[in-house]
């Protein structure tokens, strides 16, 4: 049930805890928030849903004082407020946990929490008081953390607790949680939900920004759905269903599953043998991983971010040196080859970070699409580049992949996330390489682009290529993979066939529990 607390929340009371009316925010020609109304009751867990670019982040930034609205009013407990900075908002009892945590990694937990509101003794920080305050707070809200731990050594779940404690230390009455579950295992998510319920029961109000339907159904009281900067629907969770919410978010109904037919795996095209990457003075980042991907199958690599997936992928494509083991592409040992040679041997790679690795934002689409093809005919002959051929090829790919861009000579930096990702996908797939590594291929792109990219990956599989899909999005892994590997602390804990996999077993594995123990 949505709320096990003792406070009545069934209908919005006369004076809501927080209400925003007619919020408008423009960025140049873009209308990010278009007369948004939002009303949240005390002790309520209220979901704010919408696709990427629907205006959720802008709205939350305004409520937290990071941005100022062009029009509209914000009322707290019936009193109008004008936040000019986060400090104003904090002073009025607002707290926010950002999707990308805002933590100081080299500092300790207590330093992170008291930052900006330090207990003092004379001109010095009162260390003892600070640590005590943090420990008390943690105990009271059942958020177990060691005040002296250095943040960089904490797991993602614990870092999130630090973020929540930061807000509670400032006695936040209204807590904004921006996509808080994106990086959590299902078990960590459940413990977060327990904390959320506890906070709501204390009379705190929670704004829960998410795009995950089952979470909304599990924990919230009411839902506000945004699309294109406008509120399109307000619902009471108990009276709605996931299908209705999706329709509100996208304006159409979307199939949540992918049709892909039976797999016919062929020869092994991508293989890692005992691949090891040492960490300076710690346990290995990647610990003797063995991995085989055959032609005609999609192998999903699941795991909470930071368990060695990125390092493994970098080692496979040649962007990182190995400390042990081998990499084979199409049966050929490429361990000692660099990126260019591995690409020639048959690897294509859609990187996790499309903006800082997968593209050159200030360069034209044509230049971006030429990378990797720029040394050989038809784009280059004898060291000279044929600019006309580069442009021709770019136009063809832009048309084929439906990239929305003014022309091939426009820089890609102005493209939306989905369109930029299409540029990366277009370039990598046009290699027609036997092995494709797709790392978080749909992170931060809109639903339309997700469907398109998923279709492309399935098409690669049908064409007999080996696809290694690395994703922290379990639903994506489950929908696309033929086999699923789960990575935890640098090792592969299990190799699960798709028909034996479900969210719960994978979740336990992602949390490091071996199958027997589960």
């Amino acid at each position: 049930m949505p709320n096990d607390g003792s406070l009545p929340t069934a209908s919005p009371p006369a004076a809501p805890e927080l209400s925003a009316t007619g919020i408008v925010k423009r960025y140049g020609a873009l209308l990010a928030n278009d007369h948004i109304d939002l009303s949240v009751a005390r002790g309520e867990i209220h979901a704010v849903m919408g696709e990427n670019g629907a205006g959720k982040s802008t709205l939350m930034s305004i409520l937290y004082g990071l941005q100022q609205p062009d029009e509209g009013r914000v009322l707290l407990r019936g009193e109008e407020v004008h936040f000019r900075s986060a400090l104003d908002a904090i002073g009025k009892g607002m707290g926010m946990v950002h999707q990308a945590f805002k933590l100081f990694h080299s500092l300790s937990v207590w330093e992170n929490i008291v930052y900006g509101a330090e207990p003092r003794r004379g001109v010095f920080i009162d260390r003892a008081a600070a640590r005590r305050a943090v420990a008390d707070l943690a105990a009271r809200h059942r958020l177990a953390v060691d005040p002296d731990a250095i943040v960089s050594k904490l797991s993602v779940g614990v870092r999130q607790r630090v973020e929540i404690l930061k807000a509670l230390y400032r006695d936040a009455r209204i807590l904004i949680l921006d996509e808080p579950t994106a990086v959590l295992t299902p078990q960590e998510r459940d413990s977060l939900f327990a904390v959320m319920r506890h906070l709501a029961a204390e009379g705190r109000t929670i704004l829960f920004v998410t795009h995950k339907l089952h979470e909304v159904m599990a924990i919230t009281d009411r839902v506000t759905v945004l699309r294109d900067g406008r509120v399109v629907e307000r619902m009471t969770t108990a009276e709605t269903n996931p299908r209705e919410i999706v329709r509100a978010m996208t304006g159409r109904s979307v199939s949540l599953t992918v049709e892909k037919g039976l797999s016919h795996p062929g020869a092994t095209l991508l293989e890692a043998i005992d691949l090891t990457i040492a960490a300076p003075g710690g346990k290995p980042l990647v610990d003797k991983i063995a991995l085989k991907v055959r032609g005609g199958e999609i192998v999903g690599l699941a795991g909470v971010a930071g368990n060695g997936q990125s390092e493994l992928v970098e080692a496979l494509v040649g962007l990182r040196r190995l400390d042990g083991g081998k990499v084979l592409v199409g049966g050929i040992d490429v361990t000692d080859s660099d990126v260019a040679a591995r690409r020639a041997a048959g690897i294509a790679y859609i990187p996790e970070d499309r903006a800082s690795v997968g593209s050159a934002l200030a360069a034209s689409a044509a230049d971006n699409l030429a990378m990797g093809f720029h040394r050989t005919p038809p784009l280059a002959r004898g060291g000279l580049i044929d600019a006309a051929a580069v442009a021709r090829r770019a136009r063809a790919l832009i048309a084929k992949f439906g990239v929305k861009i003014a022309s091939e000579s426009a820089p890609v930096g102005s493209l939306s996330g989905g369109n930029l990702q299409k540029v990366v996908v277009a370039r990598e797939l046009s290699h027609a390489a036997p092995a494709l590594i797709a790392e978080q291929p749909t992170r931060g792109v809109d639903v339309g682009a997700i469907e398109f990219i998923h279709g492309q990956l399935v098409a690669e599989r049908a064409a007999g290529r080996a696809v290694l899909l690395v994703s922290s999005e379990l639903s994506e892994i489950l929908a696309l993979s033929d086999r699923i590997l789960v990575m935890y602390e640098g090792r592969v804990l299990a190799d699960v066939p798709q028909d034996k996999a479900n969210e719960e077993t994978l979740g336990l594995l992602m949390a490091g529990r071996a199958p027997e123990a589960a």
Binding site: A340, S356, V357, A360, A362, D367, M371, R375, L384
Partner: protein
């Protein structure tokens, strides 16, 4: 959004005067204040600069000054195009000059061949010295930004020692080597000008061509925009960095050799660095964000400014070091207002 303004109207509203022009205007104003403070009419000082640079009689002087300056502009622009900064031009120039002098003075053989050998030796020696900084970064993680500069000091010190002691021309009493034999000197063209001018012009043309038309140029440019993208796309970054720095240093070495073989005919301690070609060249390259055509233009502009500075100093008693001040104000203005040198984001 639906009622978009007329396309041409929108283009017009987006038009801004070229930022370099504003920067130069700003520098002229600040510089004017400095001139005024010294009791001279700024308009007169600037008029003298202009006449000194562009009066027909002074063209050879301007071009003679532009030869090393544009050369050092390329030295800075090539790494900058790839997102790197070579602050070690002074040391590379000195090494080139010294090696050229040694080869030209001591290598027997027909003059023109000796000159060519001296040029090549200068380029190779200076190129290797510059590549050392890239090697330090790729192998040892020592930021090239700092190491390239620090490497200059030992180069300058050792060269100074060599010319003061082992190779000193004891007949003159000055810290300088013996004269380069006449046959090994660069052919004079017209008055102060020599073949070095043509050599630098040819290199500039080659750099432009490579930048615009070749695989090497494409990879360099992509590296400059996004290093990680280039590496991900298969560019061998370590090797590329070493090559870029080798080429950059080699051009600096050639500039040093051209000065020795073309105008001074010997290596004289301290004289090569006094005009600050390295730093003017770096500023010109930064002005154009490493884009070679723009950098060359900026280099020519700075050369004209400095040549004009001599005339200003002669005619108005305003010190010509004012031109260095003007240059740095231009680059600061651009860096602050328009993010010059910033290629990402």
């Amino acid at each position: 959004m639906s009622a978009a303004p007329q396309p041409d109207a929108r283009a017009l509203s987006r038009w801004r005067p070229p930022s370099a022009a504003i920067a130069i205007l700003f520098a002229a104003l600040v510089g004017g204040a400095l001139v005024l403070a010294s009791g001279v009419n700024p308009a007169e000082a600037y008029a003298q600069i202009f006449m000194g640079a562009f009066a027909l009689d002074n063209w050879p002087n301007t071009l003679n000054w532009a030869t090393p300056l544009v050369g050092m502009t390329l030295v800075a622009a090539i790494p900058l195009r790839g997102g790197m900064i070579n602050l070690g031009g002074d040391g590379q120039l000195i090494i080139g000059a010294l090696v050229a002098a040694i080869v030209a003075i001591y290598l027997p053989g027909p003059g023109p061949l000796v000159a060519i050998a001296a040029l090549i030796a200068a380029a190779v020696a200076a190129g290797l010295y510059a590549a050392l900084a890239a090697w330090g970064e790729t192998r040892h993680g020592v930021p090239m930004l700092i190491s390239s500069l620090l490497l200059s000091y030992p180069a300058v010190g050792v060269a100074s020692y060599i010319v003061r002691f082992p190779l000193r021309d004891t007949t003159t009493g000055l810290p300088q080597t013996a004269l380069v034999p006449e046959g090994a000197r660069l052919m004079a063209l017209n008055g102060v000008l020599n073949v070095g001018l043509i050599l630098i012009a040819a290199i500039a043309a080659l750099v432009l061509f490579v930048d615009r038309r070749t695989v090497v140029g494409y990879e360099l440019h992509m590296r400059g925009i996004n290093l990680r993208f280039a590496g991900y796309g298969g560019v061998r970054l370590d090797r590329q960095a070493m090559r870029i720095m080798f080429v950059s240093g080699a051009i600096a070495g050639l500039v040093g050799a051209i000065i020795v073989l073309g105008s001074q005919f010997r290596f004289i301690d301290d004289v090569l660095l006094t005009p600050s070609y390295t730093w003017s060249g770096l500023m010109a390259a930064l002005l154009a964000n490493g884009e070679p055509a723009g950098a060359i233009l900026a280099g020519l502009f700075f050369a004209a400014l400095q040549t004009g500075g001599f005339a200003m100093q002669r005619e108005t008693s305003v010190p010509r070091v004012l031109t260095m001040v003007l240059q740095s104000i231009v680059i600061l203005f651009l860096a602050v207002r328009h993010g010059a040198g910033k290629s990402r984001e």
